[in-house]
């Protein structure tokens, strides 16, 4: 560049005779410097949106965040970000965030400003008062030591450390109604995967998808909801893999697929059952894998009767009580049956690959998990989710097996018969999937499975959110086990979770039914003391034999020196369950006045939960509500501008609920870990302190707890003892007295009697000498080092990225990886090698941390009386299962059947073509005037709601919109709610493209813009044309991009195992034009119900 000042001189005397290059460069152009280059520091972080867990680099200049972009070192994301991740700067520094506390006094029509200190004090007072008022020492004669007057919602957007403090403080206060997004998104995943394999998390990691030969995306809009994770799908495709997308709606995922398979929403079990039938009938299953690694050979009780013979029910159904007795589903006891000490009972877990004394589990006695004797109160307590890290019990410790698979009552033969009518013809009749397309999918899946090839499945809430959600997941588990695709590179089941730490908020559960690490929350009927709790849930040997150690260590983490052998380690301090206390039951309790105080943190139930109207009606009946979020989401403002104000159902001046809005800190303003969808904990560092009165949940919980403890100091009321005895002394730092997240993580990891950090949960003791806040996270702080903060660039390590972050359990990236080797310990093929037995070294070796006892040889056979880890053989790869096997058939652990069976959704346009039984006889329905159901199939009135509605995500938005509708860069990309319909339906109903449509369910009616597209197409289902309509669910009346909330339409119809709602298939009517305003809206809904003959009883038949 020349020094001449005038461009014209530069042109005349410089090299640029054109005057359009170097001569034309302005002073500013010459001095431009990227703000990424001038930043004072770059802080490593993790994207706060979906569960992929993309790495972020946060650039800070003069104490302010000036840029956020992808961290190129990340083993998960390789520096890439989706539009939401790319909008994180606007999310965290944009004008939409509030930084002051707002307060709405009872009956007031406006917010008032409140200083933070006063607000905290007022909230502490309300917690104390409501708790005093509602404390319940006993329920129906059983000690409960709890309050049902206060509830909590939210956690999946928060850090593990925050979830930990939430669970710890609320539990000490006796609050049990603690829930988060995991309930409504993936609770059925934990039940489905956990009962099949022994752990409730995705079996693989995102990066390993690149090794797949075929990827089936079903029940997921992968490319749109997890775009950066989808790079690994594209990587596989570039290597020649086939991509199949099975979905009711042709999305951006479908556009990239080799094969798009249309399906009627709510029929995936029929589809997967069809693939299972195809694999068996065409002998495409992986024989050696199935015989040795699954329970295919296990013999089932003689009294078991399958759905084939009972018109769609399994044996044991009690019509009056609407529940199953599981006795007949059990394994048939073998000659060596014993309550303990037999090999079949053992399960083995190993933490760090260095300790031979791995634990093993024995669920021999039927366990304290749900068994056939369990009462309704126990059954409804969500126990299926407690298999998140430890499979279900089996009644027989030494079941009979027939490895020829010929015995008519062996699992394989039962399975074969169960799915024998799931033929391509039947799949077409039920799913509307053309046979040729179905068969092409079957061929691609089965041709790409076996010794040398692997197929993986990726799913999300398209599978989980059904009345048979857990069974959807189970169907994929059955298929993947049959094809030998679990525990192997390029195989597995990828559960795609949709929040930054929704896996973490399941592991460290802000969930009513769980304690950290999938220990069950004690139940009033069963668990009167620690011995009973352990006796009911643990076993004589194996992994769960040490369950007392995990429980005692948790109690030590919470109550420290106050927890002693003599006082049962304060077990009595834990409040007790007496049934279903999930979020949907809490809403009913709010409406009925039992629940009076409500904390909502980073969740927006007024838009995001099913039957949003009931959510608001519940909140309108509270004494007080605390909402913590970035902006004024619908959950914070329904009292002044919610839909019920417009319809006249609620009048602001009559609503007594006191509302506190507390501005939250963003992920860039706090330290902590997110656990991504593949069990990977990643630490994000604070880049700055939050401005104004915005604070982290860690700060809120810690200081609220501190204040309440100070107010109650000296209390001798036994109600307050658990709170006052609680360990609650975290060091604070910075100008806001922020508690140290690092110290909380250290407590989660655990420490020994000397206060030294533990390295693996094998070190946990039952004598009270160790403390550990979440046993499955033990090791995340091994050697006193924050292992979750490890950031070894992906280029420097193998594809699994094992030195990036820390994954539970024991830093394993692909679970059950012993199954990647044959029974002799050799990889099934060189192409699919992962771990193998090194005979010379006498240990397992490989690319991943072996998910097995490190030195247990493949030919190890346990003695008949072998105990502990020795109880499992050297070729039992599912070390968290009671028999070491992957479960094709689940004899216990689920309430609604041992084998996935096609039932129609609660609301369906057709009768069940497979069985006389229409819907799952075990489904859970909320009977309430505001939660009515349409008739189904051939029932009279069903024609009033003729169309199937399914909902989904768009790339440009995030869940209930709280982190996207307020961001202009995202809002402008998808500014309005729309309803996708086929040209045929548009014609049938007179819908005009880009015009308006009113969508009406038996609950409510909403409006949306019409999007007529070939991507929606009618299906021919059993001779009947079925139209499906698709709607993204991100909108609500607040924010920059506004619209009606689709969840207004959705009912509380649930999976009985985990209480997840059926979002993905329901019935609606569509009519051209906008919806009525005011009371006329309710009249429209009522008129439809009257025409259809809907009453509160409709849909409640078995």
């Amino acid at each position: 560049m020349t020094d001449l000042a005038w461009p014209v001189l530069r042109q005349l005397f410089g090299p640029d005779k054109t005057g359009r290059g170097v001569a034309a460069a302005s002073k500013r152009s010459q001095s431009l410097l990227a703000r990424t280059a001038t930043a004072d520091k770059v802080v490593k972080s993790v994207c706060p949106y979906c569960g992929v867990g993309c790495g972020q680099s946060v650039y800070v200049k003069d104490g302010e965040v000036v840029q956020i972009e992808g961290d190129p070192d990340s083993a998960v994301s390789r520096g890439r970000l989706c539009p939401k991740g790319s909008a994180t700067l606007q999310l965290t520094t944009g004008e939409a965030r509030l930084h002051g506390v707002l307060y709405r006094p009872p009956y007031s029509s406006e917010w008032e400003s409140l200083d933070l200190d006063t607000a905290m004090d007022m909230i502490a007072d309300r917690v104390i008062a409501t708790r005093r008022e509602t404390f319940e020492w006993e329920h129906e004669g059983e000690r409960t030591r709890r309050t049902m007057g206060i509830a909590h919602l939210g956690g999946a957007t928060l850090d593990n450390e925050e979830n930990y403090l939430i669970k710890k403080l609320w539990t000490a206060l006796g609050i049990v109604q603690i829930e988060n997004q995991a309930r409504v998104c993936h609770s059925s995943t934990v039940a489905g995967l956990g009962t099949s394999f022994g752990r409730g998390g995705a079996t693989t990691c995102m990066q390993d998808l690149q090794n797949s030969d075929c990827i089936v995306v079903e029940g997921s809009n992968f490319a749109e909801a997890h775009p950066v994770g989808f790079q690994w799908v594209m990587e596989a495709r570039a290597r020649g893999a086939k991509l199949i997308h099975v979905d009711p709606h042709y999305s951006r995922t479908s556009a990239l697929a080799d094969l798009f398979v249309p399906i009627r929403a709510g029929t995936d079990i029929a589809f997967l059952g069809g693939v299972i039938n195809f694999a068996i009938e065409h002998d495409k299953w992986f024989h050696d894998y199935v015989v040795r690694y699954t329970n295919a050979a296990t013999i089932i009780e003689e009294d078991f009767v399958d759905t084939e013979d009972l018109a769609g029910m399994f044996s044991g159904y009690n019509v009056d009580e609407r529940k199953y007795d599981f006795q007949t589903w059990q394994y048939e006891a073998g000659g060596m049956n014993a309550p303990s000490g037999s090999r079949a009972a053992g399960t083995v877990q190993h933490a760090d690959g260095s300790d031979d004394d791995a634990e093993s589990a024995d669920d021999a006695d039927g366990s304290g998990r749900v068994n056939e004797r369990s009462s309704d109160a126990v059954r409804s307590a969500g126990r299926a989710e407690s298999h998140g890290s430890g499979g279900a019990a089996i009644s027989s410790t030494d079941p009979e097996r027939d490895e020829t698979l010929q015995h008519p009552r062996c699992v394989f033969q039962i399975l074969r018969r169960h799915y024998s009518r799931y033929t391509p013809e039947m799949v077409e009749r039920v799913c509307g999937t053309p046979q040729d397309v179905f068969l092409e999918a079957c061929r691609l899946i089965t041709d790409n499975s076996g010794r040398d090839r692997t197929t993986s499945f990726a799913y999300a809430v398209g599978w989980t959110q059904h009345t048979v959600g857990a069974q959807y997941i189970r169907a994929a588990c059955v298929l993947q086990l049959l094809l030998g695709n679990i525990g192997r590179p390029g195989g597995g089941i990828q559960a795609l979770r949709g929040h930054a730490s929704i896996q973490g908020s399941s592991d460290i559960p802000t969930l009513f039914n769980l304690l950290p690490g999938y220990l069950a929350m004690p139940h009033a009927e069963e668990h009167h003391n620690l011995d009973e709790f352990v006796e009911a849930d643990a076993h004589d040997k194996g992994f769960w034999a040490n369950m007392r150690s995990y429980m005692v260590s948790l109690l030590k983490a919470w109550w420290g020196p106050n927890a002693t052998v003599d006082n049962d380690f304060c077990f009595d301090y834990l409040p007790r369950l007496t049934g279903d206390h999930s979020t949907y039951q809490t809403v009913v309790d709010q409406i009925e006045g039992r629940c009076k105080g409500y904390f909502v943190m980073g969740e927006n139930p007024a838009v995001g939960s099913a039957n949003t109207r009931m959510q608001r009606l519940g909140m309108a009946n509270l004494d007080w509500l605390v909402v913590r979020d970035f902006s004024l989401i619908e959950t914070a403002t329904w009292w002044k501008d919610g839909p019920e104000i417009d319809t006249g159902e609620l009048v602001t001046g009559d609503i007594r609920t006191e509302v506190f809005f507390m501005p939250a800190a963003s992920h860039t303003e706090k330290d902590g870990t997110f656990t991504n969808t593949n069990r990977l904990l990643q630490w994000h560092h604070a880049a700055k302190e939050p401005d104004g009165d915005a604070r982290s949940e860690l700060w809120f919980m810690y200081h609220l707890g501190r204040r309440i403890r100070e107010k109650l100091a000296g209390s001798t009321d036994p109600m307050d003892t658990p709170l006052l005895d609680l360990t609650w002394d975290y060091p604070v730092e910075g100008s806001h007295d922020e508690p140290s997240a690092d110290c909380v993580l250290a407590e989660i990891n655990g420490f020994d009697a000397e206060g030294e950090p533990l390295s693996a949960y094998t070190e946990l003791k039952e004598d009270g000498s160790t403390a550990c806040g979440c046993w499955i996270y033990c090791g995340v702080y091994a050697d006193g080092v924050n292992q979750a903060a490890r950031r070894e660039p992906w280029r420097n390590q193998n594809w699994l990225g094992g030195k990036w972050g820390w994954a539970w359990p024991a830093d394993r990236r692909i679970l059950y990886n012993r199954a990647s080797a044959d029974p002799d310990g050799k990889p099934w093929s060189d192409r699919k090698a992962l771990v193998w037995w090194d005979q010379d070294a006498g240990k397992w070796d490989g690319h991943d941390v072996p998910d097995f006892v490190p030195d247990k040889s493949p030919d190890y056979e346990p003695d008949d009386d072998a105990e502990g880890p020795d109880g499992l053989a050297g070729d039992d790869p599912f070390i968290m299962q009671a028999d070491g096997k992957g479960w094709l058939y689940v004899p216990s652990g689920l309430l609604d059947g041992p084998l996935p069976t096609h039932y129609e959704p609660q609301e369906s346009p057709v009768d069940n073509a497979l069985y006389r039984q229409q819907s799952s006889p075990s489904r859970k329905l909320t009977k309430h005037r505001d939660n009515q159901f349409s008739p189904s199939g051939s029932q009279p009135g069903a024609e009033v709601y003729p169309y199937v509605l399914t909902t989904y995500r768009l790339t440009e938005h995030f869940t209930a919109g709280g982190m996207s509708r307020w961001q202009p860069y995202l809002a402008e990309l998808q500014p309005e709610l729309f309803c996708e319909v086929s040209p045929e339906l548009a014609q049938e109903r007179g819908l005009e493209h880009n015009g308006w449509v009113t969508v009406i369910s038996a609950r409510y009616a909403i409006e949306a813009r019409v999007h007529v597209t070939d991507r929606m197409s009618p299906l021919l289902v059993d001779g009947k044309v079925v139209h499906q309509v698709g709607m993204p669910f991100h909108w609500g009346p607040n924010g920059y991009a506004k619209g009606d909330a689709v969840n207004e339409l959705v009912a509380m119809a649930m999976d009985p195992n985990v209480h997840i709602q059926e979002d993905k298939a329901l019935l609606v009517d569509v009519q051209p034009g906008r919806r009525p305003r005011g009371p006329a809206l309710l009249e429209l809904v009522d008129a439809h119900r009257r025409r259809a003959g809907v009453t509160v009883e409709t849909g409640h038949q078995i």
Binding site: L32, M234, L259, F260, R1009
Partner: protein, 278 residues
């Protein structure tokens, strides 16, 4: 990089022609639409980095495209094309493609800019300098792709800079960095062209008969684009001009003709006077 500044060299090394004696290799974008998932991360990353304003909530009904086109406030634009297709089971296909300024080798906007606001950088990219631009708008009709656009409330012209500031410190443009599937690739243009050729051959072999490169040829109407594309269908399908020609291509010829005409006129008039004296 060719030091020869002959005609051929000029076409291939626009930076050198523009006086950048020692300059890095010409950098550009290769947008492989066959792996685009239409996520629009490029649009957002661009806006975040360059502080491009949000430009309104407008549901267009044009598939998932609510951006509509490139403009002063949209420097990346993802087109969504739903069209009938007989070759597959669904009977249609959904194409997605992220469009951007082409950073032409022969850039008409640069040719017509009277203020020197638009300049050719050492990376071969074409950048509007907002401290010089006076908003005259000559460049707007000059662009054969309709990229240049005036920000109405500002008066000046804005478009993709290929993240000139980031390039200067060795960082790739924000859109390419964000792109989840590497549909947008950034690098030395020579390498990108080679890579694109290989990808095209793969696709053709895989049966994508309509796949083609767009803007990669130095022989095209703009001397080759610095940002070129792999398309799965004809350019018109994506809203791209099929055969763009630099609008100033005939400029020299036109001036020559005009000059000749003027000379002829002068000669004729002069001749008339000569004749009159006679």
């Amino acid at each position: 990089m060719a030091a020869d500044l002959g005609v051929e060299g000029a076409t291939h090394d626009p930076a050198a022609v523009s006086g950048w004696l020692e300059h890095p290799p010409r950098m550009g974008f290769f947008t492989d639409t066959s792996v685009c998932i239409g996520c629009k991360a490029c649009e957002v990353a661009c806006k975040e980095w360059n502080h491009v304003p949000e430009d309104g909530l407008n549901l267009t009904g044009m598939s998932f495209d609510n951006t509509v086109g490139l403009g002063a406030d949209s420097w990346r634009h993802v087109a969504f094309v739903e069209r009938p297709e007989t070759g597959n089971d669904e009977g249609f296909r959904w194409l997605m493609s992220s469009d951007v300024c082409k950073h032409c080798t022969e850039a008409a906007c640069l040719d017509v800019c009277p203020t020197g606001a638009i300049f050719r950088t050492e990376f071969g990219s074409v950048v509007v300098q907002d401290d010089i631009c006076n908003g005259c708008g000559y460049c707007v009709p000059a662009c054969p792709y309709g990229v240049l656009d005036k920000r109405e409330d500002d008066g000046r012209i804005f478009k993709c800079t290929l993240c000139y500031d980031r390039l200067a410190v060795g960082q790739e443009p924000a859109c390419a960095k964000a792109c989840p599937t590497d549909s947008i690739q950034f690098g030395p243009l020579d390498e990108l062209r080679e890579r694109a050729q290989g990808k095209l051959e793969q696709l053709v072999e895989a049966g994508y008969g309509d796949a083609r490169l767009y803007g990669e040829s130095p022989d095209d109407g703009v001397g080759g684009a610095g940002a070129f594309f792999l398309l799965l269908d004809e350019p018109e399908v994506y809203g791209l001009p099929p055969d763009p020609v630099v609008t100033t291509r005939q400029l020299g010829e036109m001036w020559r003709c005009a000059g000749l005409a003027a000379a002829a006129l002068v000669a004729a008039v002069g001749g008339a006077f000569v004749g009159a004296r006679r």
